[in-house]
């Protein structure tokens, strides 16, 4: 231990060396992340509403108030909210259940772990295409995909139009996302469980606690940092969702979310200022979730 800290001191003797090592990435971040955010922000407050009217003058909040009156925007926004709620709850629950099943170290755990994680390795577009086939909206005798399975199993009451109905579109769209991400959530929870010393469980058992009580009062409270991490990760993935939905439904109206609408406004409508305003709104939504988390993490790290 002593030897190690002596070594560390030697390194610290030249603090500038370390700084120069990270300088390129600091510069890259400053330009390509924060610089671009600033640029987008500036655009969102401008009058640059078309490719040909090169009017970059300041417009205040005009683009943002326009968005509030834009039915496509409110449609995309409410779609995103529905998607986020269903996706987060669904992924948490299924990830947690899978981790509970594996947590005790059953036989062949490695196999199940990789099987559950596998969906994450598939590209969004490939996955989107196959889920588009699975979630085909035909019902009854012409059904294919999942509806055909329901039909054959005599569960025809479960057949539904999936993501093509205005009411249910985002609930159906959350399904592939849940399928893809719950393995990852399982891995996070599993790591959380493994981080809890076995002594605690044994002590609880010796004290006569039931299995349910052990989970409820001993294990789950210790998992709360993991819960928070999962929540943040899922939340920010959900808010910027684009490729999954584009892969399944292209830019179709029913499943339009903010990222898809932003893309459409920038590249089809070529309304750069309005597109930038949507981008800023997405950024703010993510920031509201992520920044408090970062502050919390920093504080707990410092406390350690």
């Amino acid at each position: 231990m002593a030897l190690k800290s002596a070594k560390r001191k030697k390194h610290i003797q030249n603090p500038w060396g370390g700084f120069f090592f990270v300088l390129p990435s600091i510069l890259a971040m400053a330009i390509f992340v924060y610089g671009m955010i600033g640029w987008t922000l500036k655009f969102s407050f401008s009058n640059r509403t078309s490719a040909w009217k090169k009017d970059n003058s300041f417009a205040g909040l005009a683009r943002y108030t326009e968005l509030l009156d834009d039915p496509e925007f409110t449609h995309a926004f409410s779609n995103l909210l529905k998607f986020t709620i269903v996706f987060m709850i669904g992924t948490m629950i299924s990830g947690l259940i899978m981790s509970l099943l594996l947590e005790k170290g059953i036989k062949g755990e490695g196999f199940f772990r990789s099987t559950y994680l596998y969906p994450m390795a598939i590209s969004f577009i490939a996955m989107g295409t196959s889920w588009r086939w699975l979630m085909d909206s035909a019902e009854g005798p012409k059904a294919t995909g999942l509806n055909l399975i329901f039909d054959k199993l005599g569960l025809s009451f479960l057949e539904n139009p999936w993501y093509t109905s205005i009411k249910g579109s985002m609930f159906a769209m959350a399904l592939p996302a849940i399928w893809q991400m719950s393995g990852y959530v399982m891995a996070l929870f599993l790591a959380g469980f493994r981080g809890i010393p076995d002594d605690l469980r044994e002590a609880a058992r010796v004290d006569g606690a039931s299995e349910y009580k052990i989970y409820r009062h001993i294990l789950f409270p210790q998992l709360s940092p993991t819960f928070l991490t999962v929540l943040i990760i899922l939340g920010h993935i959900s808010m910027k969702v684009f490729d999954l939905i584009y892969g399944i439904a292209s830019k179709g109206y029913v499943t339009k979310v903010l990222a898809i609408y932003m893309w459409q406004v920038i590249f089809d409508f070529q309304n750069y200022a309005k597109g930038a305003a949507i981008a800023v709104i997405i950024l703010v939504m993510i920031a509201v979730v992520v920044i408090p988390y970062l502050i919390y993490v920093n504080k707990t790290e410092e406390a350690k």
Partner: protein
């Protein structure tokens, strides 16, 4: 572990270099930007490329194609590059209003003199040149003509339903759809994926229901979007949708397959469907057949792929050389038979084309020409996107919200003229 991560970094660096290399044009390169990447489109492009390299052996041909989605993906990349002042030497765009945003932004060169020197002002149809002209100037060279208002059907499936000849009017077609339904076949093949193919069908219904004069008035404000004619068309459109296949998520090739396999009766789609099916080994006249869209015989609803010369093109001379090939007889006859479209030039050789295309060539010379909205003739990118979205919303809502559709169409018109 360290070794592994080094390898990953090295691979990433190589990938970066490889992916950025074509974007940096060296001297003597022609960089062309298209969304033709597969099937008959790619074959046709290859034919034209051969023609180009024979004539310009010193120029290296660089194809920066971005595949997919009727060019919507490619357009995204193109918009960014034009805005960044990094244009290709020439790019593909639908002829007509789709080019208007580039023209208004002053990003394209006027090609009128090229039309004179190459004699295109005489060999291209006058109606077409009129549509291509903006304020006395022409900004693109069309290489092909597609027809949008074509009815495709399967003779065997039609026979089952007791239909022996193509319907002659919109109402006759709706009556036939009911006959298909009676024998358990879906009347109309619908491709709901991404809204545009449904909007394509709607575009035809508008034309068939109100006729070419009123239809043309929709784009310049002479026909009102909230008027009675549009309402009648929407009612008929809803009726047609009610005979569609239940799956709302098909891509157009999947919907086309319903026709060729006898699972659906009629299909309104552009004539690229024919070349797609032939590439699958199907025979025109036996496995599938065609008729002009019912109620639109004598009207040619066209769309056209064209190439342009961006201002500040890195290799302007090569761009112009490419455009000359695009407009030449040899170039058009190399491209079109493979792409499944007809040549723009009136002096093209019919013997190189199949029976459908030969018939189309004849109609092209005598028919009344109207533009296709979904493929960039009548509206610019913004209006087109809003139009597709409005129709997609109507379709997703089970064709019930007619008032909402009218509202969306009015908004699309406003977006286009903003």
């Amino acid at each position: 572990m360290l070794k592994k991560s080094k390898l990953v970094v090295a691979l990433a660096a190589v990938a970066l270099v490889a992916s950025t290399a074509p974007a940096a044009p060296a001297a003597g390169n022609l960089e062309i930007f298209t969304w033709w990447a597969s099937g008959g489109e790619a074959l046709g492009l290859a034919g034209m490329t051969t023609e180009f390299t024979n004539k310009n052996p010193d120029t290296t041909f660089v194809n920066a194609s971005v595949a997919g989605a009727a060019g919507t993906n490619a357009k995204g990349v193109l918009v960014s590059r034009m805005e960044a002042g990094n244009p290709p030497d020439t790019f593909q765009a639908h002829a007509g209003a789709e080019l208007s945003s580039y023209v208004k932004a002053g990003q394209l060169e006027d090609l009128t003199s090229l039309y004179k020197s190459e004699g295109w002002d005489k060999v291209f149809p006058a109606d077409l040149i009129k549509t291509l002209t903006t304020k006395g100037k022409i900004y693109s060279v069309p290489v092909n003509i597609h027809r949008a208002n074509v009815l495709w059907w399967n003779p065997a499936a039609a026979k089952k339903a007791g239909i022996t000849k193509a319907p002659a009017s919109l109402d006759a077609m709706i009556a036939d759809l009911a006959k298909f339904k009676k024998v358990g076949i879906d009347g109309m093949a619908l491709a709901g994926q991404g809204d545009w193919a449904i909007a394509h069908l709607f575009d035809y219904v508008l034309l068939a229901s109100m006729g070419p004069d009123k239809f043309n008035g929709l784009w310049n404000g002479k026909t009102k979007w909230n008027g009675a004619e549009v309402k009648v068309a929407i009612t008929k459109f809803a009726k047609i949708l009610s005979y569609g296949n239940a799956s709302k998520s098909l891509d157009w090739p999947d919907a086309g397959k319903l026709i060729t396999t006898g699972k659906a009766g009629f299909f309104i789609m552009g004539d690229w469907a024919s070349s797609q099916w032939q590439s699958e080994g199907l025979k025109l006249g036996k496995d599938y057949t065609w008729a002009p869209g019912p109620g639109t015989a004598g009207v040619y609803q066209w769309l056209s792929d064209s190439f342009t010369l961006p201002k500040g093109a890195p290799n302007r001379a090569a761009g112009i050389a490419w455009l000359k090939v695009c407009g030449s007889l040899a170039g058009q006859d190399a491209f079109n038979p493979k792409k499944g479209s007809i040549a723009v030039r009136k002096d093209s050789n019919p013997k190189l084309y199949d029976s459908y295309l030969q018939a189309a060539m004849k109609s092209w010379k005598v028919d009344r020409l109207v533009g296709s909205t979904v493929h960039g003739v009548n509206y610019g990118n913004a209006g087109m996107s809003a139009y597709d979205s409005a129709v997609g919303k109507f379709y997703a809502g089970d064709a019930k919200d007619s008032a909402g559709l009218v509202k969306g169409l009015v908004a699309a018109y406003k977006t286009n003229n903003a």
